[in-house]
């Protein structure tokens, strides 16, 4: 059964009693830089939205340890079925900020060709980060199916399905965990319990004593960890990955963390999040917690810290500039990729649209504010 209190590793003084991270300085700093880069990316996106340059973003602050800790325990050959809030996963694995910015701007270079809203990334290289879908829960059983493919071919890879506390209420969560249990599929279910589903606190989501315990219903081990402790997350994911690769089946990991901002740029959390809760979690900043280790072990000092922050900011700024300067997608992109080949009826509709533009000019650029 899942332990009832979240496992944490990093003590306030930066020690990690009983835990040997076994990581080189370079590896430790890669994790750190990814967390910092994630925060910078988040920051810049929120500013871009505030200044009207992009339509929407999803605050990520406070959850960097969960995302990067998890990503760092997986291999680039594993498949990620992420949530829209998982900026840290692609960034850790070397996706360039500009590729993500292209999506934030929905421009012609966006891998999704400007068809999806911002924060709906899709990558195949350097990692398989499966095109993010908006409907909550749908991608969890897909991760199980993809994992079954690895299993059938006798491959050593696994799938990560990442979702929020709210996501556990979805049908997809239920069918995914149930199928994975029966199939002993190599999949890790990462539940990011960040306290809220938009404005709904966990108490309105479920009466279960934790999210980790939900594994019991499917014969799947459940683990609960401190999601602001990058080592705790990393360790849990590593152990789950070892289990999965050994053919022992899936694991459910609950990361207890907190969304240090609105649900999205359209949301005002002060309407519903008690101030004290915000303050409590502000004192548990995952980057600060991790810094205490790095400082203590001598991998980081103030100068290097400032440098890493500045580099991150510069990379993200440059990415934003480049993405902003890139053209929007061409009209043709509306009509392609519906099927492998464009069927006649869609071709006809496209030609009529081009013809109308030629005869009467293009459509007026739309406004419209996103509410959530």
């Amino acid at each position: 059964m899942a332990s009832r209190t979240p496992v944490s590793i990093i003590e306030p003084d930066g020690t990690t009693p009983g835990y040997d991270h076994g990581l080189s300085s370079g590896e430790l700093l890669r994790i750190y830089s990814s967390m910092v880069l994630t925060r910078a990316f988040d920051d810049v996106c929120i500013k871009l939205q505030r200044s009207g340059r992009i339509g929407f973003s999803i605050p990520n602050k406070g959850i960097e340890a969960t995302q990067v800790g998890c990503a760092s325990a997986l291999s680039p050959d594993d498949w990620f079925f992420p949530s829209y809030r998982d900026f840290g996963m692609p960034l850790y694995h070397g996706v360039e900020p500009v590729e993500m910015m292209n999506n934030m701007f929905g421009n012609a270079q966006d891998s999704a060709r400007g068809r999806q809203m911002p924060v709906h990334f899709s990558f195949v290289d350097p990692i398989r980060l499966v095109s993010i879908s908006s409907p909550i829960g749908t991608q969890i059983p897909q991760a199980v199916g993809a994992a079954r493919a690895f299993q059938m071919r006798g491959e050593d890879h696994l799938c990560l399905a990442s979702f929020g506390d709210g996501g556990t209420s979805s049908s997809g969560f239920h069918s995914a965990l149930n199928f994975a249990g029966v199939w002993k599929a190599p999949v890790i279910f990462l539940c990011q319990n960040n306290g809220y589903a938009i404005s709904c606190p966990t108490s309105s989501q479920t009466a279960s004593e934790s999210f980790g315990i939900k594994g019991e219903a499917y014969g799947i081990p459940g683990v609960i960890v401190d999601g602001n402790d990058v080592f705790a997350v990393r360790q849990a994911v590593e152990q789950a990955a070892t289990r999965a690769r050994a053919g022992l089946g899936p694991t459910l990991i609950e990361c207890v963390t907190f969304r240090m901002g609105g649900h999205s740029t359209s949301d005002d959390p002060s309407r519903y999040v008690p101030k004290e809760l915000m303050e409590y979690w502000a004192g548990r900043d995952p980057i600060m917690i991790y810094e205490s280790v790095l400082f203590r072990e001598g991998h980081l000092d103030e100068a290097r810290k400032t440098q890493i922050a500045a580099e991150a900011e510069a990379r993200v700024d440059a990415a934003a500039k480049q993405a902003a300067a890139t053209d929007p997608p061409s009209l043709e992109t509306i009509f392609s990729d519906v099927y492998e080949d464009i069927p006649q009826h869609i071709r006809t509709q496209g030609e009529a649209a081009f013809d109308l533009v030629a005869r009467k000019g293009g459509a007026a650029g739309g406004g419209g504010e996103f509410p959530l």
């Binding site: 339509g55 929407f56 929905g106 421009n107 400007g114 068809r115 999806q116 809203m117 709906h120 879908s133 908006s134 409907p135 909550i136 829960g137 709210g166 996501g167 209420s169 979805s170 049908s171 589903a197 938009i198 404005s199 709904c200 309105s204 989501q205 479920t206 359209s266 949301d267 309407r271 519903y272 929007p328 997608p329 009209l331 992109t333 509306i334 009509f335 519906v338 009826h345 869609i346 509709q349 496209g350 649209a353 109308l356 005869r359 009467k360 000019g361 293009g362 459509a363 007026a364 650029g365 739309g366 419209g368 504010e369 996103f370 509410p371 959530l372």
Partner: protein
């Protein structure tokens, strides 16, 4: 009478219903303290308490499943689905259960309930915050489907839907939530279901539309009028059961028909309108029955203004139909 946005009119309609009838309940994701992501349920929890207006877990299947049970047992659920795009996990409950309960029980059990949900484009919401799924539901006997296009109708149709003995899917054109204001009577009133509204008279071409496409049609009609074409704009208001007689009359009067909706063309709602006319009034028809619709593709984000029918496209269809 107050000048309200469509959103305020809906909020007002919900408030009136909660006041009038203690069995009315309002619930869904974020509809409680937050007041809904569009603020349609703003202040209802503070005014009526958590027992009457509350949040649910993130499960559309659960929301609608529970609503059906409440409706069977004497409550009047008004459930919100945050975006119509997210209604599909509840598709089974709506299509297999709510719509068929009366029939399969010989009237012993019924599910009088309302499902409110914002639909359509205009907020740069991309594939999953922009869809117009009315056709998926209008093929379902036992269900009613309502789409308002003015603040006055929004409140009146909503209150009529809440009073209705059958399950009603109430589709709210999110593009119009705040973009237009209109006179809305205070207090309770209803607008009859299954009666269309002639939004503009005109003898040359008839445009059938609903929801967010009504203002688009009206603008195109104004532009057409400048070119000497008089367009009749019909706002259907209730898509199922449809005011078929009204549709046929309006089609016959001009003999030239344009059908307008945001959803993809193929098997869209417009197909039924066209087929209805081709089956019952083809002798009156003097030009191809044109459809101006979203494309047969998913809904794109950056280029949504090209995807959504606009005055340009509607006017072009009106002119072609008129010149035929």
């Amino acid at each position: 009478m107050a000048l309200l946005t469509l959103l305020q009119a809906i909020n007002d309609g919900l408030r009136n219903a909660l006041q009038d009838d203690p069995s009315v309940l309002v619930f869904g994701q974020d509809v409680g303290p937050k007041g809904g992501v569009f603020l349609a349920t703003e202040n209802l929890t503070s005014e009526f308490g958590e027992a009457r207006c509350f949040d649910t877990p993130l499960s559309e299947d659960g929301i609608i499943g529970a609503a059906i049970g409440m409706a069977m047992n004497g409550l009047k659920p008004v459930a919100e689905i945050q975006f119509q795009d997210f209604i599909f996990p509840a598709f089974d409950q709506i299509v297999s259960e709510a719509a068929k309960l009366r029939y399969r029980s010989g009237g012993q059990y019924t599910a009088p309930m309302v499902i409110r949900t914002p639909y359509g484009g205009g907020i740069r919401g991309g594939l999953y915050h922009s869809q117009s799924g009315e056709a998926y539901f209008c093929h379902t006997p036992g269900l009613k489907v309502v789409v308002p296009s003015t603040p006055h109708d929004a409140k009146g149709l909503l209150m009529a839907s809440i009073a209705d003995p059958d399950p009603v899917l109430f589709l709210e054109p999110k593009a119009l939530y705040r973009s237009l204001k209109g006179e809305v009577p205070s207090g309770s009133y209803s607008v009859d279901l299954s009666t269309l509204r002639t939004a503009r008279e005109g003898g040359d071409v008839t445009v059938f539309c609903y929801g967010a496409m009504v203002p688009v049609a009206l603008k195109a009609a104004d532009q057409a009028a400048e070119k000497g074409i008089e367009v009749c704009v019909v706002d259907l208001r209730t898509l199922l059961p449809l005011d078929e007689e009204g549709v046929l009359d309006a089609a016959k009067r001009t003999g030239r028909v344009v059908i307008l909706h945001e959803a993809p063309r193929f098997c869209g709602y417009g197909a039924e309108l066209s087929a209805l006319i081709a089956e019952n009034a083809i002798e009156y028809i003097e030009a191809p029955i044109k459809r101006v619709t979203g494309f047969d593709t998913p809904f794109p984000n950056t280029l949504e203004h090209h995807y959504l029918p606009d005055e340009r496209r509607v006017l072009d269809a009106i002119e072609t139909t008129h010149a035929f």
